[in-house]
Symmetry: C2
Subunit: 158 residues, 2 copies
């Protein structure tokens, strides 16, 4: 499995809310920036988007907030390819903070390759992108070890 | 069922990404602000937080991105109480845009009532908050009609 680039988030002062910690939505923004880096890495960069009118659209995102992150913390986001097909990528994010032994958060997202225009339409990945995704995809064991992942959110009553 | 306040988001120019639409993470930020309004409505407002040191922490969030939102669009977020117990709220958000017949997005979140301090600890809601939540909670039929909701994200192969 090849190594993906690690995105280092800069925690802005206005990302901290009245609870004195990183506001929930900014975990999502850091993940979104990490996906931008991943797109560059896969070759779905600005030049590709301009020449092909193809890009990635987000379909779904699920975040688990596991530990508080403070303004003084560092935060890096490690992306992993959980799965992919001809035009979709299922990826995971691990939010790591050097103060913590465990991830501060985890997330997973489904992304769709789309050709923009009058009416955006799904489009298959170019071969080189598929080859990169195949090289990056987690092994079944690594995938099973990743967590927590998306699930039905509900109150379980005992 | 009582009516909850509707949060009207102001779409900032920098919320629009290279795809020419609202960046995924800003749906989350709009939802986060809508939850702030809900907290005020429930009596978990700044005065409450200051006097009790109690607040809500986000545990999980799942967003379905259903339609593109443009900078020229309006966006309002309607929150609904799906379920609650002594110290948790499971809520849903509908993202509505007057240009669209259907929601632009839906989300659901699990929130936990926490007393902050040296070591944050879960805390039961005050009675008045529980009474408000009971009045607001969706009927089982309304809950079943709400969607899409959180689920396991995966590529289904035919």
């Amino acid at each position: 499995m090849a190594e993906l680039p690690v995105y280092r988030a800069k925690i802005e002062p206005d990302w901290i809310d009245y609870n004195g910690h990183l506001r929930d939505a900014y975990y999502g923004l850091a993940a979104s920036y990490a996906v931008d880096d991943l797109m560059d890495y896969l070759g779905l960069d600005a030049a590709y988007r301009e020449s092909t009118h193809c890009t990635l659209y987000s379909l779904e995102m699920h975040i688990h907030f596991l530990h508080e992150v403070k303004e003084s913390d560092d935060l890096k986001i490690i992306t992993s390819i959980l799965d992919f097909d001809r035009k979709r990528i299922h990826l995971a994010c691990t939010f790591a903070c050097s103060r913590l032994d465990e991830p501060a958060a985890t997330a997973d997202m489904m992304l769709l390759h789309v050709r923009q225009g009058e009416k955006p339409a799904t489009a298959p990945f170019p071969e080189q992108v598929t080859a990169k995704l195949a090289a990056l995809k987690l092994s079944p064991a690594a995938r099973d070890a990743f967590g927590p992942l998306s699930r039905k959110i509900e109150l379980q009553r005992r």
